[in-house]
């Protein structure tokens, strides 16, 4: 059996059996399911079964006598504020509002309540507003016009392309949410998978296994088997997430509805997501291999890995700026810069349609960087993997690479 495949299989199975890997893979679907469950529980508690609520009012204008039933809220008239206050004391009502005599000029009403709250609930505000507008418009405009006035505007946006066709990916917060969440998971998956490469090579060096392995396989076979095996494990993680997201969105739409149901992520996003994962992972993996070669311990290698790992998560530090100005030249440059490209392109894809030339440039630079990194890693592994003890200085590494 091919030795590269044997190493691939060994690394893949060893990784997917790790507790940390299983937890991370299942974290997204499990946490999302929990979030949906918590939402349902909280919304169930926050929205008790429909029951009729009484709210008192004092009409100093003298024009508000009709439409006292607004959904589940009954509006009860009191002649004076004192009478309404007495009703509160007797617990007939929990709150009342006063429509002052100068309401038509000030457009201000006063609400008196026993509830300590930041702002009146939407249902209360809507009931009072509709009660006032219905009374003011009654007899002046048809009833259906009153309904239109009182119903909030439902503005549905459709993004069209420059040729006038409906864009495959629609804008809006809902449609940005999935790409941003996916990019976040992508960054973590790339970093974690590359860290597994670093740990695996580092452990073999630390445990003095490297020489035994290299008496059976070449450096190239060892590197290829490890990078592909651990990459396959990372890819499996991403695929689990990609499959679970639409299922979870469907589940969320049926229970949360509204906002979630408007989310539509086109197929090409997922394809690009997987391509960027593969290239991004390979880049970080070959760098991790180089680090494992020149360092003596896993801990030392992990410390240095943080320096370049920062680039993959840096786009999240500037997330609001990316969302506000997705076409800024700064983001275009960093979309082509190989370390930040995978995550940044995924975020920008959620906000705008990234031009094809930028996608091609980004993927090409990334692929070239992977190739260059692979050559570097293979050479460093050949030179340093059997050297234990003090980490070589940069000058020495350059001299050896040139030799």
């Amino acid at each position: 059996m091919n030795r590269t495949f044997l190493i691939f299989r060994h690394e893949f199975l060893r990784t997917v059996r790790r507790t940390g890997f299983i937890v991370l893979t299942l974290a997204l679907p499990v946490l999302a399911l929990l979030a949906i469950g918590v939402f349902q529980i909280v919304s169930g508690i926050a929205s008790p079964p429909a029951q009729v609520t009484k709210i008192g009012y004092v009409d100093e204008v003298g024009s508000f006598t009709q439409f006292t039933i607004q959904g589940n809220i009954n509006l009860v008239h009191y002649d004076t504020p004192d009478a309404a206050t007495q009703a509160i004391i007797k617990k007939d009502i929990a709150e009342y509002f006063v429509i002052p005599h100068d309401f038509l000029s000030t457009r201000t009403a006063n609400l008196f309540t026993t509830q300590k709250e930041l702002a009146p609930p939407d249902a209360t505000t809507a009931a009072i507003k509709n009660f006032i507008s219905s009374n003011l418009l009654a007899g002046k405009v048809p009833a259906d016009v009153i309904t239109v006035v009182e119903t909030p505007l439902n503005l549905v946006t459709t993004l069209i392309t420059s040729s006038g066709e409906v864009a495959p990916q629609q804008a809006g917060y809902a449609n940005v949410l999935v790409p941003v969440v996916f990019a976040f998971l992508l960054a973590f998956s790339i970093i974690f998978s590359a860290t597994y490469v670093l740990q695996s090579l580092g452990e073999e060096k630390e445990n003095r296994l490297m020489e035994i392995l290299l008496s059976s396989v070449s450096t190239r076979q060892l590197l290829a088997g490890k990078v592909l095996g651990l990459g396959a494990a990372g890819l499996m993680q991403v695929v689990v997430w990609v499959i679970s997201i639409p299922l979870l969105l469907g589940l969320a739409s049926s229970s949360i509805g509204g906002f979630i149901s408007t989310i539509h992520v086109p197929a090409y996003f997922w394809v690009l997501g997987i391509v960027f994962f593969i290239l991004g992972y390979l880049l970080f993996a070959v760098l991790a291999s180089s680090l494992a070669a020149i360092t003596s311990t896993v801990r030392e290698a992990q410390g240095i890995a943080q320096l370049y790992g920062v680039f993959s998560i840096a786009p999240f530090w500037c997330l609001s700026l990316i969302l506000l100005y997705p076409n800024s030249p700064v983001w275009i440059v960093f979309s082509i810069f190989p370390f930040s490209a995978p995550v940044l392109v995924m975020i920008r894809l959620g906000v705008i349609g990234v031009p094809a030339w930028q996608l091609v440039a980004s993927l090409a630079v990334l692929a070239l960087s992977v190739f260059g990194g692979l050559l570097l890693a293979a050479k460093l592994l050949r030179i340093y993997t059997l050297m234990y003890g003090k980490r070589p200085r940069l000058g020495e590494i350059i001299r050896n690479l040139r030799a």
């Binding site: 190493i7 035994i212 392995l213 008496s215 059976s216 050949r382 030799a403």
Partner: protein, 312 residues
């Protein structure tokens, strides 16, 4: 001093397992091996000795094709080592270890699979070797649960499980108790008797004397002693005899110096006197002779002498 730069002749009837010709290897800051040549035949245990930093490990790594020589050539089992022919080699490096979290059987099977064994054959052979080494109770234990000596035996099993034609053992007995040392020595001898070629690298000169047929001593990357162990010892034999006697022999003709040790006396002879002439003189003197032998240096003494000269 034997500083042969050419591959020394081995018995022409025996096939060569390893042939190293004028190999040189330099790293950034030093030359580790200089113009080194030697050969190892099948069916022999070949000792590779030398002081720390002499270039032994670099030489072994080049033979195993882990690192490439800058110049010169190496043939293993009659050909330039390739990825395919690595399965015919067994290597126990000095710096060695196993996957700590894996259990013994999985570790053996994985490393055996890299040598071309299928899972079933590897498992069957591993079970046999575990029984042979008295390690069957460790079969399902994790490597990290084993003692250093037990781990050492598992590593030895990994080295020979695929029945290699050529085996390199670098300090194989380090960390082993006397019982396990004898066990491994026997397995090494059995491998030699089965026709394998073995390179044994160690600082334990007594083990080299006990096990090896021929040796190569390198220092500063160069060959300083190479050949049959008996020939080397004969070459370094001092012109003296060791005698344990009772009585007073008086003046013995041909003896130029006398070193008294506990239990024996070493008599240093002049160049024209043979040990037999001294023995005759002693017999004629009428003393009781309990022991008489030609003084032969141990490999350890030769090692110290040669390495010491090179470091002066």
């Amino acid at each position: 001093m034997a500083t042969s730069k050419k591959t020394a002749r081995v018995d022409s009837q025996q096939a060569l397992a390893v042939e190293v010709n004028h190999v040189t290897k330099a790293f950034a800051d030093k030359v580790a091996v200089r113009d080194l040549s030697f050969a190892v035949s099948q069916n022999e245990i070949f000792g590779l000795i030398g002081p720390n930093g002499a270039g032994k490990t670099t030489t072994i790594r080049m033979v195993m094709d882990i690192i490439k020589p800058d110049s010169g050539s190496i043939a293993v089992l009659g050909e330039k080592l390739s990825e395919a022919s690595k399965s015919k080699l067994g290597y126990l490096p000095e710096e060695r270890g196993l996957y700590k979290k894996l259990n013994v059987m999985d570790s053996i099977i994985y490393l055996a699979s890299l040598k071309g064994m299928d899972r079933r054959s590897a498992e069957e052979k591993a079970d046999k070797l575990l029984v042979q080494t008295g390690m069957q109770s460790a079969r399902n234990k994790k490597i990290e649960e084993l003692s250093k000596g037990m781990g050492q035996i598992i590593q030895f099993i990994v080295t020979i499980i695929h029945d290699p034609e050529f085996i390199v053992l670098d300090e194989p007995f380090t960390g082993l108790d006397p019982v396990n040392t004898e066990l491994l020595k026997k397995m090494v001898m059995d491998s030699r008797n089965d026709g394998k070629a073995i390179i044994l690298s160690t600082h334990q000169m007594s083990q080299v004397e006990e096990l090896c047929d021929r040796i190569l001593m390198i220092d500063h990357g160069r060959s300083v002693l190479y050949g049959n162990l008996k020939d080397i010892k004969a070459k370094y034999r001092s012109h003296s005899v060791i005698v344990d006697f009772e009585g007073e022999p008086g003046q013995i003709p041909g003896v130029v110096d006398k070193h008294v040790h506990k239990g024996y006396v070493e008599l240093v002879l002049d160049k024209g006197t043979t040990p037999k002439q001294v023995l005759d003189s002693l017999v004629r003197s009428g003393i009781t002779i309990n022991r008489f032998e030609v003084a032969t240096p141990t490999l350890n003494e030769i090692f110290i002498e040669v390495a010491g000269k090179n470091h002066e």
